[in-house]
Amino acid sequence: MRLTALENIQKMTDVELIAKAIRGREDGFEELVRRYQRPITNYVYRMLNDYDSSLDVTQEVFIKVYNSLKKYSSEYKFSTWLYRIAHNAAIDHMRRNTVNQQSLETENGDGAYQLQIESPNPTPEQDRELSEWRTEIEAVVKCLPAAYRDLILLRHSRDLSYDEIAEVTQLPLGTVKNRLFRAREMMREIFIERGFSGF
């Protein structure tokens, strides 16, 4: 009986779960948390590079979500709305801990961010398997300025469209396209500087 109820709730859409949560049923919100806790924690973790902080910020995100469920409009995808809250929470956290970020980024006259940190120089292997690139790519993403890292993660980790990224970050669509292009170019340059070929 209980298993059937659990299966039913797992089959529900996000909007149905939200309606359930608003009606005061905690299992609706619990399922939403279960559904999105891992992607949100991963996104925040990759933004902050700190495990404990990412758990705290994720918790903060879901508390904000729970308090704002009534304000949610179903004309937007729930995940887009959720990522917007996560994006803002991660940015706020970084602002509160500005010591780590000040050295990472400066915006030049073109609105482009320049990398100011020294990158380590590992010895590359020429025919590395695609899966083996993962560690290197993660490391390069961590080197990116937060404004670029955010867009790269939303695009490649969360698979959001440009429009959704604009919605989440509240940036103009043109700025999203421009920054994403620059972020990718910066990553490729870092790979080339590190001696990696193929990109």
């Binding site: 949560a21 608003i22 005061g24 905690e26 919100f29 619990e30 948390v33 279960r34 806790q37 891992r38 992607p39 924690t41 991963n42 973790y45 990759r46 495990y51 990412s54 758990l55 994720t58 918790q59 879901f62 508390i63 979500v65 729970y66 308090n67 704002s68 469920l69 009534k70 304000k71 695609l130 899966s131 690139w133 993962r134 790519i137 993660e138 993403v141 790269i152 993660l153 695009r155 490649h156 980790s157 698979d159 469209s161 440009y162 396209k177 994403l180 292009f181 990718r184 990553m187 490729r188 080339i192 070929s197 193929g198 990109f199």
Partner: protein
Amino acid sequence: MDLEREQPEFDCPSGEISSYIDGELLPSRELELERHFISCETCRSELNLQKKFLIALDHALESEEEIDLPANFTKVVVANAESRVSGLRRRSERYNAFFVCAGLFLIIIFALGASGTNTALDGFFVVVQKLVAVGGFVVHMIYDIAIGAVIILRSLASRFVLDSSIKLLFPGLAVVYIYIVSRLISLISRS
């Protein structure tokens, strides 16, 4: 492979290649780029490099297996969210909570009262009875005073012609009356 990439030609849509791979261009623009790729070796090569790069990015960043969440993370998050909730509390919920608490209190009182000889409850009922008696006395006293005041004022009004000088006497008389009555009350309460 191509560490020293060739610089694309001026007319080459190099900035749009990644948008093309992402599928974010209008169909008409996609078609223009595809025609261009056929004729431009530089852009074709750049397209292949970027495709490879973006596939590697997707592959590396899509994976979410590295994060280990604490076992009870969901429960903790839900409990914290619900304990700090403000937005989902309805006014009716607060009223309901008040009535439920009041109901429970009455049930407890009656249940303990029904059980008979509880000395703690006896004391409580004695206090309640005394409070009711005192309240009744105060209400009666105020009622009697008010009646007396009305009678005095009526008799004064019927005997005097209400010219302007006498009208001025009424507030003064009322003050004197209130003073005398309050003194009497205090004397009674002291005795």
